[in-house]
Structure formats: structure tokens, C-alpha cells
Amino acid sequence: MTDVVIAGIGQTEVGEHWNISLRELAFAAIQDAVRDSGGLKPQALFVGNMLSPNLSNQAHLGALVADHAGLTGIEAITIEAAGASGGAAVRQGYLAISSGMVDVALVVGVEKFTDQVGPGVDAALATASDSDFEAVQGMTPTSQAALLMRRYMHEYQVPADGFAGFAITAHANGAGNKFAMFQKAIKPETYAKAEIVSEPLNMFDIAPNVDGAAALILTRRDLLPTNFAHPLVKISGSASASDTLALHDRKDMLYFDTAQLSTGKAMKQAGIMLDQISFFEYHDMFSIYAALEIEAVGFAIKGKGWKLAADNKIGLKGKIPCATMGGLKARGFTGGATGVYQAVEAATQLRGQAGANQVAGAKYGLIQSLGGPASTAVSHIIERIQA
């Protein structure tokens, strides 16, 4: 199989971009990624997006984004897997290059949440769940996470504020990421006093829904421009798995099977063991998901994922650095763009360009995005292949 290199990365600041449209956001990220790659021209475009048909009355983003980026004529499609749309788009780009069928692929994740507010957005987000048997009951992704967190705390005797470490770490790292929504560290007291949203979830257990776009240029190693400007970073492992859509249909609701399956496959492809992973970009849309991903991937045993954060083992100098550029919590939850932001951030780390947030000696990064409560998981291992 041919080496799939991340030749170019681009991202917009994450925020409430009321003055920037969906197509403009996507184009901004694309411009940066193409420039970063040294001007490579893509033959295929894979767009990761979850809610533009609902929130922007706009489907058919492949054609729209290609058109608006001056790439009319290339093949272009949207990939949707709820919150894992971006990760799934990265995977499609990976498959296109590694199969040899496409020379240069452009992967773009884009999401606009903030053109609407309130109940309309909540209803749109609920389309990621089982419409006939979850959403119709008034269940929302937030309430799913809340009741999972409650059950987890009940089974494992987790103290109140046991999950504070996730938000604290995320915000500390967000402070060093100029693209993040929140660039300010928070104190433990802030978490302790935070408003309850859906018991036991408080405001700091939930990532904000915000706008953003991120892009990757993927290609084969032999197609890189001669004076390619960056340390080489490649995708060494790529896998995805699905589980029952409805949370209530799970064999074990407190174990993210998809996280384990997809990570295991990706690690096998990359030929690495867990202790070789330098950092983990998890899908911390809710703090409980971060804990459950940590457990399913194997960094902690069942019921102990929360302790890794509480004992400060997930910081930049910790045992397993997580959310190194702020994660979903501080960077922001950018819907279908998430998986592409994770890939951009991982590439930044592996190139040694993460500045204040640099994980020393980063060699392998694990990135993982989830659709729903891990009804889908897409995991990638990204590797630095030369100093």
C-alpha cells in the first residue's frame, strides 16, 4: 500500500461566524491547505458535514464547495456520519490515495451551527439519533450523555466534580491554540460552580456548537513538490466501526465498542502498540465520552477513565496527552468538521509546529471522532516519518 502523506493543512478560527457563509468558510480552509501543500491540485474532494441540510437548507455540498473553490469539474461528494462525518471524510480521502485511483485528494470539514439558535438546533442535532425510537421521545444527544454519565457515576462511585479534569485540561490547551473558540484556562472552582444543563452534566461537560472549517491535502509521497516545506507526516492507520444506532440497543452502554474496534484496526495497520501513541485527540463532545473513549481504547480500565483526567495524567506532559489543542471542549464542537480539525491538529503536533502546546517527541498521534454515543467511530493513526 502506498504512503498517504498529509501534504497540506488549513483551518479557520472556530467561532460564531455570523458574517461568513458556509461556502466562504470552506473556501478559507481550502485556500490555506492548498497553499500549505505547495500548490498541489486535487482531483477529488471529500466534504465532511452533518447538518447543513437542516441548519442552512443546503445539501449537495460536494458540488457547492468544489464550485466555490474554483475546482469545478473534479469529483466531489459529501460524507455524513453525524459527528464522525469529518473523520469519515478523512478516511475516504485516505482510501482514494492509497488505492492509487486518485493522485491528490482534498478533504474539507465544514459546519455552520450559529445561523440558528435554540430548539431548532437541538432538533437538528437529534437527527443523529434513532428518529423513531429516541428523538421522537424527546431524547437529545445532551440528554443521552447526561444519563450515561449518571449511570457511570452510579456504577463506579465517581465523586461530584469527578469529571472536572477534562474541561480543565481542554481549556488549558485551548489557551495555546489561536484557532480555538476558548483560549482561556479555567479553575476547578469554575467547574464546581457551573450551571447544571441536564443532570449531572454541567455547562463545562459540554462542548459548544460553533462554526468552523478545516482542510487537508492528501497525496502520495512521490507526488510532493521538490522543495516541500514541512516534516513528512502520513496516515499510517485508518479504520471505522459502527454499533447499534440507538443507545438503548447496546449490549453495554458504558463501553464504546466502536472506539475499541476502529482503534485496534488502525494500530494494527500502523504496526504499533498502545504505549507508542504520543497523544490522543478524542471526541470530547461531552466529558463522559472522553472517559469512555479512554477506557475503550485501553488507556484506562473500565470505570477508571475519569481518574486519568482527575489525576492530571492527560496534560501535555502527562502519561497520555489528550485534547492537545483544546479538544472539542475548548476548540469547539464543529460538527462534521471535527475529524478534519483533529487531523490538522495532529499534523501540527507531528510537524513540531504546535508552539506552546507541543508534545515533546511526538511520533504517533491517535485521532478519533464519534457519531452519536459511539454509534460510529472513525480512528486514524498519524505518524511523523522523518525528523
Partner: protein
């Protein structure tokens, strides 16, 4: 409004009709024709008793559109006596605090409306506290 969609589901919504697998006796809700336990074909209808207990729950204050009239409401995952888990609102709670493990029973209630007087009103199952019977 999606009238046919809601009409198709009325046996599930009003009567908790699922399936039982003729091969391994696994009880299935909602019906899915393939047994999630043994993988064989399962199309025999089965009506659940409506009895169960609370696996977990939370209260929603900021509801999605169509449910705002109801807010705040409590949504739960209920473990039915026969095995399957189901997502549903809890109702008729009064002042009673909800607890994991609390016994509940199915009732039929209004679940949502379409927000205008001429829109469809969707009825379905909710669960209320059940006095534990010896």
C-alpha cells in the same frame, strides 16, 4: 408531519408490540426482523407487559422544537422486564424523586405536537412509577 411514518409505528407506540425470536426466545423491541442475539430471522410478534425499571434518567430543561411545551421533562432508558431497553419520558412523577432501579409501568401519553393547531399530535408510550408488587 410525516403522517405515514407515525401511523406505521402505532402498534409499537400504543401497545409495545415487538418480536420474539423463535430460535432463541430473545424478546426484541422494536421489531427488526433479525434477532440481535442469534442473528436468525425473527418475525413473530410479541406484546410486552409494559413493566420495567429505570436504568438511567435525566431532566431536560432546554427542549428541542416540538417538545418545548413539555419542558422541563424527564427522559429515561427503561429496562423492560422481558429484557430489551427502551428510551421514553417518565411521567406522573409528582414530587417523587427518580432513582436508578425504580420500578415503572407503561402508559399512553401525548409525546409531542407539531407546533400549530392543525398539526399532527403524536401519542406514544411513557412510563410512570409503579408500586412494587410482592
Amino acid at each position: 408531519m410525516e403522517i405515514p411514518r407515525h401511523w406505521r409505528l402505532k402498534q409499537q407506540r400504543y401497545s409495545l408490540v415487538g418480536e420474539v425470536c423463535p430460535h432463541c426466545d430473545y424478546k426484541i423491541f422494536p421489531p427488526r426482523d433479525v434477532c440481535p442475539n442469534c442473528g436468525d430471522e425473527a418475525k413473530e410478534l410479541y406484546t410486552f407487559s409494559g413493566k420495567g425499571e429505570v436504568y438511567s434518567y435525566t431532566t431536560i430543561y432546554e427542549a428541542p422544537s416540538g417538545y418545548d411545551a413539555n419542558a422541563p421533562y424527564t427522559v429515561a432508558i427503561v429496562k423492560l422486564q422481558e429484557g430489551p431497553m427502551i428510551t421514553a419520558q417518565l411521567t406522573d412523577l409528582g414530587d417523587q424523586p427518580v432513582e436508578i432501579g425504580m420500578p415503572v409501568e407503561m402508559v399512553t401519553r401525548r409525546m409531542r405536537n407539531d407546533g400549530d393547531e392543525r398539526g399532527i399530535i403524536v401519542y406514544g408510550y411513557k412510563f410512570r412509577p409503579r408500586l412494587a408488587v410482592a
